[in-house]
Symmetry: C2
């Protein structure tokens, strides 16, 4: 980007660190560094320290592997959540998306990824054993597989489904079909085909 | 953005700090935080500490006000630079742009902004006194005003020009005209008008 060095090593180091963030090139990193320079020292100190503290102190819930400040996360320790249903998701973002709908009151299980031979991620790198352990304790009667409908997601669903075969739990998955607000004309064939095949009783409201 | 709190205060704090960066919203901040979470602890520590050290330790060159690790910046302390010419710029970015051209071998003077009544920036907030002091020492025989051609830039040029009236220095400015590669058809009237009025002898090469 720059055909010459920055005038200061401190600035150069800051730019290099900022440029490591995803989606931030050297030019944006320089803009961010010059912006930080205009902020009060205390603010920039808080910025740096907060991020370091976040990385150093955050925990994974020992029940569901969700991010948490405590050993057990807020959802797992909430007595008003239904403990008999576990929704299996890829990452914390999916937990957040589902929580936002306010349509689910069970627990979660965050795999921390999905099986992806292309990226060298096998079942052993995911928190699948922990899930089986939870299910093995016997309080669970439904496992909802809420993974993306990609090849990797389907593979992971299939793998977990197979592993759960011997447990007395219902394994369910998210309803597939035409999204609300979608136009049939633009729906892909596979989705539309499955939707007509799996048609449901008409409900008012 | 989120209609509910993040599952962790540590995560929430990190997201809030990252979202203070210009051009980073809460959604991007969350993406950055989750990215940092996947990096080794030491890397994130270095990230935070480098930025704090940058903000705390960087200096402004006491000659030209450019960013510097030392009391006097690399350009001012370079014995091979011509000390009789000072190029006045708004910010360090402009120093970098001009350095990149490799067409200038004098010194700089970084104002740290331009006069902007709209943003409440007056001459006293800029390093104009420092410039007059430098010029007053008598080694300087040319001051190049290299400010943007906006209203604020022109105002600042005019102000500095007036202040320099009593010093025995030539005050020059960047050549204005049609840029290399520009098509006349698309040049604005003012630029084209001035270019034809200030026409120059044709040079080969």
């Amino acid at each position: 980007m720059f055909s010459f060095d920055l005038p200061s090593k401190l600035l150069n180091d800051a730019v290099e660190e900022l440029a490591k963030l995803p989606g931030v090139g050297r030019k944006t990193a320089l803009r961010l560094a010059l912006y930080l320079l205009k902020q009060p020292k205390e603010d920039v100190e808080r910025f740096g320290n907060t991020i370091v503290a976040f990385r150093s102190n955050i925990k994974h819930c020992r029940c569901c592997n969700n991010l948490s400040d405590e050993e057990v996360c807020d959802i797992c320790s909430n007595p008003r959540r239904e403990r008999s249903t576990i929704c299996v998701v890829e990452s914390i973002r999916d937990v957040m998306s589902i929580e936002k709908t306010q349509q689910y009151n069970g627990l979660y299980h965050v795999l921390g990824g999905i099986i992806s031979p292309m990226e060298g991620i096998g079942p052993s790198q995911l928190e699948i054993e922990l899930l089986l352990e939870r299910v093995g304790k016997g309080d669970v009667n439904e496992v909802v597989l809420a993974l993306n409908t990609t090849m990797e997601g389907e593979t992971t669903c299939y793998y977990i489904h197979k592993k759960l075969k011997d447990f007395p739990v219902a394994v369910t998955t998210l309803a597939r079909g035409i999204g609300f607000g979608d136009e049939l004309e633009y729906a892909d064939e596979l989705t539309l085909g499955r939707s007509i095949k799996n048609r449901q009783p008409f409900q008012v409201g």
